[in-house]
Symmetry: C2
Subunit: 498 residues, 2 copies
């Protein structure tokens, strides 16, 4: 029996608004798509939350035995400043501002995005396709939609015909928008006269020759529509219909709604069975935005270089903070919350360091039901719509047991060797593999540990020699450096680093 | 006067075989292209040498004031196992072996390549285009070559017509091959009957529907020719003619020769003004190859996990080792050479740590001509065809001066403050910016340093107290951990870490 059979996963499907049992199309294979960054500037903390949420989905599904193909794209063309596929091209605009070729902008921010992922321990996806890498596939898909009658061409641009689509299919189901109202609405944007209705959107957009990024197409030179990119790449690597599609809440409408319409328009079927949306990150109760000055970058978090930040926070503390709430709840950032997360993470991380060094002497003690029950709970919580908040609560309980074992309140010999091994392995797995919470600062750690151990031995000897002046000096000097010595019951001395 | 005017660069141009003065087409802009990896397995040490060589070219040209656009591609399609554009598709083959979709192979090894670059401090290029991201551009280029009469189509594949090309242009100039002989040669490969001559090469290759990677084209479904990728991407980002094209010596023929022919065939002009080739890496005097078992991966170097490696070597020691010889010379890997490099790197790196902490008290001493002369020499060496070997020799001289200053043999107050500042800044710049040699292991370094300083103080006190047993114990315990204490003339104790 695989873990995914023992702990069946349920997912809150944005399509139904309900928690549904997850049954992949071709178990044990799972197709997972999540919308990646538009690489025209640095990802902000809100993006990071979304990427972390789907990183955990990918990690957990893989851990319980699914063969997951995880596709997370890079949008490096075609993303215009407004969602209707109008306005300024984001990458072209940054290129002008920074006096770089658009692909230099793409390279700069793709690199920076990958750095952020590495620092926050967000795994690389199975495939990371780019929009510019799939121009051919996007043109082919536009051709299909045109051939099926759900799009029209005007002056070299091709628009999706929402009204025509609605004669046969529903539009707006995912976001619950009242599209009839939108259709009747009179709000028309400048230069939008090409479109038959305001809700129509570009799937191919003609551009003038001074637009650096442009490709030849049957309709003249242009760029692909932003919504179309994800449809073309999702279809190419996961098929015309696949299991899970994720993204930030702000992408529900129109981006994901458009993806659904495009796929139905091209292939006659809904592309995705489970839609998942990660909720927003607020800062001190307010929506993050550049104009409010409350928007900061991941990098600013661990350097502390933003007026709103009381101090620097480590990447793992931030990751812990994000996992402390369910992905579908809003998450509010504040210095207090981050400092609490820092303490919480340190507690779990210390227990991780402890249990890695603990070994059972062997032999059968009592079968410890409580420890095994905790493992079971951790799985149930994760399988329950990836509830990282509840899973962390279980890990805290586990860490208390680990500390009890360490302090001798709970003796290893009273425990069953096999039960202890399961417990140890589960704690390490949930921390590192499932939640991606690593121990921090392991570089030079061994040597540092060695040198501190030498000092502890010196101090022990000083005490045996009744040289209390020396033993106190060692303790105080280390304390001044942030190294706290702790005397154990058995005369053993351990230490923590602030 | 800019640095590149003061120290004009000369480059050994593979086209002429001679050292030539470097004059960019549109100074201060420089277009630099180097062939990147085919991401179907992990890059090996020989690749790493090439990437390091052009990383230094990019770094130095940028440092002396050029605005460099550095393009290094990723080959993620179309690279067949033999250079004539026949045989098995490398990425498809790995995909079958590893039971992954070709783009999963691409993602896996692109990620691993980027990790290796990060670890060896190889900078990301300005643009890192992929072959799959430029299918449209490649098809357009094939069309142009066909229209100009330098290619022919057979069964959905398009071949470059070398004999036709030679009626008007030269082929083989870069590599010095006698193409007439090749043309008359009878060596024909299996399934090559489509080609008119053995030297012809595919610029578009028809593939069967069971080939996963394939794109529609005017000639049917297929894949781009490997040689064509670099031509299309170089042209797109650097223009029809650009300054420098680099790569490994093994790419001279046919890859670079084909690039030249394709560009002339499409645009009527030679694409590159300065061709540079990094030479091969041998192992204990023999060519690296998988069959000989003497081929190891960068990762194996710093874990020491290969039978040929006596120990693990740090990434910076390996980088130093590669820079110790000129890029155009063969470089022989041996444990002895690596261990010597390790010592050399450590000497320079220690001096780097030292000079960063040294500050001149201010004031005018004698203007130290010798120090300024060393800076001048470093520039002359780098401008002389990027001679990193000679530059390192200068840095060794500089490091001796730094040690003299540290030990007090050379007193800062005897030096002119301004001259010292120039010297300090030059040493740091050449080490970190130009050669990319960082100090290693700076994480936790501060705390470690603090704890060791506390122990040194304890030892001093023990000696003052005539407690020689304690003072010896501290020295011996630290030594056992690899920390060597050194007594200075003035009673000061310093330390080194093995």
């Amino acid at each position: 029996m695989t873990l995914f059979e023992k702990y069946p996963v349920s997912i809150t499907n944005s399509l139904s608004g309900k928690k549904e049992l997850f049954t992949p199309l071709k178990s044990p294979f799972v197709g997972l798509y999540s919308c990646g960054p538009t690489v025209y500037n640095e990802v902000h903390l809100g993006n990071l939350r979304t990427f972390t949420a789907f990183d955990v989905v990918y990690r957990y599904l893989t851990h319980i035995g699914y063969k997951v193909r995880y596709v997370r794209n890079i949008t490096d063309a075609g993303h215009l400043t407004n969602d209707a596929g109008e306005g300024v091209d984001r990458i072209e605009e940054s290129a002008k501002l920074e006096q770089l070729e658009p692909m230099e902008i793409v390279q700069k921010y793709t690199f920076s995005f990958h750095e952020v992922c590495r620092i926050f321990n967000i795994l690389p996806p199975s495939i990371e396709p780019t929009a510019t890498g799939h121009i051919v596939e996007q043109i082919e898909m536009v051709k299909k939609i045109l051939a099926n009658g759900y799009a029209y061409e005007v002056n070299g641009s091709v628009y999706f015909d929402v009204r025509k689509f609605m004669e046969k299919y529903k539009y707006g189901e995912l976001s619950g928008r009242n599209i009839d109202e939108l259709l009747e609405g009179t709000r028309e944007l400048d230069r939008q006269d090409e479109k038959r209705h305001a809700v129509d959107f570009a799937i191919w957009k003609a551009v003038s020759p001074n637009h650096i990024q442009r490709w030849p197409s049957p309709w003249g030179e242009g760029i692909p529509g932003w919504h179309l990119e994800c449809s073309a790449m999702g279809t190419k690597y996961l098929g015309e219909q696949f299991d899970i599609h994720g993204g930030g809440m702000d992408l529900k409408f129109p981006h994901h709604e458009c993806e659904i319409a495009q796929s139905i328009g091209a292939y006659g079927k809904a592309p995705v069975r489970y839609w998942m949306h990660a909720n927003m990150l607020t800062v001190n109760g307010e929506k993050m935005s550049k104009s409010k000055g409350n928007s900061f970058l991941p990098r600013e978090l661990f350097t502390g270089s933003h007026p709103l930040l009381a101090k620097a926070y480590s990447p793992m503390a931030v990751r812990f903070f994000m996992l402390q709430s369910h992905y579908s709840s809003t998450l509010d950032f504040s210095n207090e919350a981050l400092q609490a997360a820092e303490k919480g993470y340190k507690k779990l991380s210390n227990a991780l360091g402890t249990i890695k060094k603990l070994d059972h002497p062997g032999g059968a003690g009592k079968q410890d039901e409580e420890l095994l029950k905790l493992i079971d709970e951790a799985y149930r919580n994760m399988s329950d719509d990836f509830n990282t908040a509840k899973t962390l609560a279980v890990l805290f309980e586990m860490s208390s047991r680990i500390n009890d074992i360490k302090s001798g309140n709970y003796r290893l010999t009273d425990l069953d060797a096999d039960a202890f091994q399961k417990f140890k392995s589960a704690y390490i797995t949930f921390m590192e593999d499932v939640l991606g919470l690593q121990e921090e600062g392991s570089q030079n750690q061994e040597l540092l540990d060695g040198v501190i151990r030498v000092m502890i031995e010196l101090r022990k000897k000083a005490r045996t020699d009744r040289n209390y002046a020396l033993s106190d000096k060692i303790r105080d000097d280390l304390k001044a450096l942030g190294v706290q010595l702790m005397d154990g019951k058995d005369g053993e001395i351990s230490y923590t680093i602030e």
